[in-house]
């Protein structure tokens, strides 16, 4: 029967802001074959990090790997360099880093969920989510001076301190955000039409999640208890009330829910951290050049971000290896499409919250 329609989804497509290309072969809108091309954003950052930049500037480059998780890229690198240099940061700096990292997670997760709503044709919900998300970005702007690319981490500490006014403002905004996020979560959880688009769509089973080594909210939505925050002490998560969030359904809906749960948890952690901020300096003096190698795992909003850093005692690093969460989620993403409807492809893609600029670097 002649019913084959090849649908290109990307690289330029309204539903995905990033250049990525899926080529679906569909029959009656059911996808029978899929080709993925994730390499559009490859810029050669790994090479630049070891050739064009001094080790104390590389974090600015790495932050531009991805705008969503800029803080975690820079953070992972700086954690590594600090380890190579033997720098012990102050607890206040750690707390500040944690606050900004979690705020970044909040705005990223909220935007991801909003985007899922948008591609489901639920424009209003997207607008509401974006509206509430402004709370988080406003705090970030107040703390770091920028809305997206903060460059907050510095080797040995952070760039700015919090004033009592900041703390008051953060408290007020976070409480409001928490209220709104709970409202939004309730909405995503119970809305009927959105449920039709998200429940039992793109389901990853527990076994599949394990087999394909998924990471981040995608893994946790399938019940896989993995979180770099839980497995790697890069920031004092144990002290601020971190709770691992999982769901078992593994579908688009569960991924949204995990993100909302994590946003709530992040808000709680940030509130705790802001109100129990240890005294001390925000930065320590750093001397020397990095030498040796180290392995760093941090939890980016999309999942585990892995860095391998090797220094050779000169100004320029020997090797910086970046493995980002989307990188490990792409194999399972490709498997999910076959057999699902084309109209569900967008929610599936967006529920992965793919970050291609991370993947391709």
């Amino acid at each position: 029967m002649g019913s084959k329609i090849t649908v290109t989804f990307g690289s330029q497509h309204i539903a995905i802001p990033e250049p990525v290309s899926f080529v679906f072969e569909t029959e009656n809108e059911i996808i029978t074959k899929v080709d993925v091309d994730v390499g559009y954003v490859h810029r050669g950052i790994e090479q630049a990090a070891v050739s064009k930049f001094n080790f104390n500037n590389v974090q600015f480059l790495l932050a531009r790997v991805c705008g969503f998780c800029s803080i975690t890229h820079a953070g992972a690198y700086i954690h590594g360099v600090e380890q190579l240099l033997g720098v012990e940061t102050t607890r206040r700096a750690d707390y500040l880093r944690l606050i900004v990292t979690e705020l970044d997670r909040m705005h990223s997760h909220l935007l991801a969920n909003g985007h899922v709503a948008e591609v489901c044709g639920y424009e209003n919900l997207f607008m509401q989510v974006v509206k509430y998300r402004e709370n988080a970005t406003e705090i970030l702007e107040a703390i770091t001076g920028n809305r997206v690319q903060y460059d907050y981490y510095q080797i040995g500490g952070v760039s700015r301190d919090l004033s009592p006014e900041h703390i008051k403002m953060i408290n007020a905004k976070l409480v409001e955000l928490r209220k709104n996020v709970l409202k939004m979560r309730d909405f995503f959880e119970t809305d009927y039409t959105l449920g039709l688009k998200t429940r039992n769509v793109g389901t990853i089973t527990y076994d599949m999640a394990k087999e394909y080594n998924t990471a981040g909210p995608i893994a946790r939505a399938s019940g896989l208890r993995m979180d770099a925050r839980n497995e790697f002490d890069f920031l004092p998560y144990g002290e601020v009330g971190y709770v691992l969030q999982t769901r078992t359904e593994g579908d688009v809906w569960a991924r949204n829910m995990v993100r909302f749960d994590e946003v709530i948890n992040s808000i709680d952690m940030s509130l705790y951290a802001v109100n129990n901020l240890p005294e001390g300096d925000i930065k320590v003096k750093v001397k020397g050049k990095p030498k040796g190698e180290t392995f760093i795992r941090v939890e980016a909003p999309r999942g585990e971000c892995f860095y391998y850093i090797k220094g050779n005692g000169t100004k320029v690093m020997e090797r910086v290896r970046v493995r980002v969460p989307t990188y490990s989620n792409i194999p399972v993403l490709r498997e999910l499409f076959v057999g699902s409807l084309y109209s569900d492809a967008q929610p599936i893609v967006l529920s992965f919250d793919p970050c291609l600029s991370c993947t391709a670097r």
Partner: protein, 616 residues
């Protein structure tokens, strides 16, 4: 006048035999071309004469026809033996026995055996105007890698004569004979190519149609036993209370079988293995049109009975379901076959409703469907032979590669469903008519069935047109100029359809209304100038003209409209240049329900007999 009637029956048959024996190109061409003015002219003369005409025939003819019957059944029996089909043989034997009973029982009747009224005359005209061009087309068509051209054209032309005979018989016994003759003709034509598939499909057509024959014979037995009559006119003259509904029920079943209604649709679908003119001839003017014709003959009897309601349900159901099935098809001829089945359903719905307007609707549909389907199948044949395109997915860039074929196909498809063409008028009148009888539950369903069936057909045609009009670079065929014969046939149909559509209001109000009036009374359809008035609603001429202009714009102007000063740009494809395949949906999931729908159709069939025929 009697001579003319006999001539229009006998001439084509004679011509057919002459072609068979002459085996000469010139003879075939000249005779088939000659048939066109002859048959249509005679049809017109008969139409304008003082109708109805009764013709009493000598007894010898009756005897001859009964002998012919037995001979035919013996041939079927032999076919059953030869093709090792138990079913065919068994049905032939059953018919043999039943026929003996009928002949034994039949009382002597003085009623004329040939009865020609306006309806019959209209069918003559249809056969002349729509059927003969197909024979002319076939004469050229068979030049393209086919065998036995003369035999084929001869059978086709002869078949037209049989069809003319079928619509003029009054004696139901004779009707059985022509019914079986059309079966024979279709068996020969479907099996014409002689390969295994063709033979299998012709066997299928044979046994399915034989069921209709059995039904007619059973009905005859009941009729003769209970009422003592076996002529249509006698039957109509009876009081309604004296009529055994079972007999009418069996006759309706015969009509449903001949009309290829579900679940007997397979034989018509199987007919597409034959050369395309066969499909054209079966679908347009002849063969399947016997079905609505038979119901139209009976409609005054069944109007308002339970049988009528059951028939409405059954055929209305087929109208919708066949249209839905057609959506899943990819082969152009199959799509057309399904749409024929569907539209036959609508014609029979209208005939079964039996009110004056409904009868008019049925006739309108017979006429326009005949034109459009003949046209479409002819063009399908052109596509097949000239461009080797059997499947709609192959039909890329028809607009530039085969503009005339595209034009014709487009126009014929538009004729099948869009305002202001005849088929649409039929649908519209049907809804209007049904709205007036809403208090009856079957009429509410009727509206729903007519509406949805119509929508599905529209969707089907738009889909097929859309696929055919695709502008894709990777086209598989090159431009070939159309042979003159094909062109003539195309233009012939095109002009007829166009002219009738412009004058559709007087055509329907005067011509069709006049035909329908003797059957069910005068329908409230008038022509006000060129506007069509039915009851309280009016289809103004400016609307007809507007719609026609719009559709002409859509289907013809693209050949002429070329924007010169406009930039051309490739289609948006996310900025990529992948090779793309773009076909259309085939709604594959529908086929999942096919079995269930078929069994439901069988249930409806039995219900027609049991409830409608009051067998209980």
């Amino acid at each position: 006048m009697e001579t003319l009637i006999v001539l229009s029956i006998v001439l084509p048959i004679l011509a057919g035999f002459m072609m068979l024996f002459a085996k000469n190109d010139a003879v075939t061409y000249i005779l088939s071309c000659l048939m066109l003015p002859l048959l249509s002219g005679m049809g017109f003369m008969i139409y304008t004469a003082d109708l109805p005409i009764y013709i009493n025939t000598p007894d010898i003819v009756n005897t001859f026809i009964i002998m012919f019957d037995f001979g035919l059944l013996a041939y079927f029996l032999w076919l059953g033996y030869q093709r090792k089909s138990l079913l065919v043989g068994l049905l032939a034997v059953v018919q043999f026995i039943l026929l003996i009973i009928v002949v034994y029982m039949a009382p002597v009747s003085g009623t004329a055996n040939i009865y020609v009224d306006k309806l019959t005359a209209m069918m003559y005209l249809l056969v002349g105007i729509v059927g003969v061009p197909i024979a002319i087309f076939a004469a050229k068509y068979m030049d393209y890698a086919e065998e036995d051209k003369h035999k084929f054209v001869g059978i086709v032309v002869g078949f037209l004569g049989v069809m003319n005979f079928a619509v003029s018989v009054n004696n139901i016994e004779w009707f059985f004979a022509v019914f079986e003759t059309t079966t024979l003709a279709s068996v020969i034509l479907i099996g014409f190519r002689g390969d295994k598939e063709a033979v299998d499909n012709s066997t299928l057509a044979l046994w399915m149609n034989q069921i209709g024959g059995v039904a007619i014979l059973l009905s005859l037995i009941l009729m003769i036993k209970d009422m003592g009559v076996y002529h249509f006119t006698d039957l109509l003259a009876l009081d309604k209370e004296n009529i055994t509904m079972a007999a009418i029920g069996f006759l309706s079943i015969a009509a449903l079988v001949k009309g290829a209604q579900l679940p007997f649709h397979k034989w018509l679908l199987g007919a597409m293995v034959a050369p395309t003119p066969v499909s054209a001839i079966l679908h347009s003017a002849t063969m399947v049109k016997i079905a609505p014709f038979l119901l139209l003959r009976l409609s005054p009897i069944i109007e308002g009975t339970l049988l009528s309601k059951m028939l409405i349900l059954t055929t209305g159901f087929v109208f919708v379901v066949a249209a839905i099935f057609a959506l899943t098809q990819d082969n152009l001829k199959k799509i057309l076959a399904y749409s024929t089945i569907s539209l036959l359903g609508l014609m029979m719905v209208a005939a079964a409703v039996g009110t004056p307007t409904a009868v008019a609707v049925s006739i309108v549909l017979i006429v326009f469907h005949g034109f459009a389907k003949g046209f479409l199948f002819v063009e399908a044949g052109v596509l097949e032979k000239l461009y080797n395109a059997k499947y709609i997915k192959d039909m890329n860039m028809l607009l530039t590669k085969a503009p005339l074929t595209m034009l014709f196909i487009f126009f014929a498809f538009l004729n099948m469903t869009f305002i202001p063409f005849g088929t649409f008028i039929g649908k519209w009148l049907m809804i209007e008519e049904a709205s007036g009888f809403l208090s009856s539950g079957s009429f509410v369903l009727l509206i729903l069935l007519v509406t949805t069936g119509g929508v599905f057909l529209s969707v089907l045609y738009i889909k097929v047109l859309g696929v055919a009009i695709k502008h894709h670079r990777f086209s598989t065929f090159d431009f070939t100029p159309m042979p003159k014969t094909f062109l003539f046939v195309g233009v012939w149909y095109y002009m007829w359809l166009l002219v009738i559509t412009i004058f559709i209001a007087p055509f329907i109000a005067n011509f069709i209304g006049e035909i329908a009036a003797p059957i069910a009374g005068k329908a409230p359809i008038y022509a006000d100038g060129l506007s069509l008035v039915i009851g309280k609603s009016t289809l103004y001429f400016w609307q007809i003209a507007g719609a026609l202009v719009l559709l002409l714009l859509i289907h013809a102007a693209p050949l002429f409209v070329k924007f010169k000063k406009v930039d051309k740009m490739h289609p948006y494809n996310c900025g990529e240049i992948y090779t793309r395949q773009a076909e259309s949906y085939d709604f594959d999931f529908i086929t999942k329900y096919e079995k269930r729908i078929n069994s439901f159709a069988i249930t409806l069939f039995l219900l027609v007999l049991i409830l409608g025929g009051q067998l209980l």
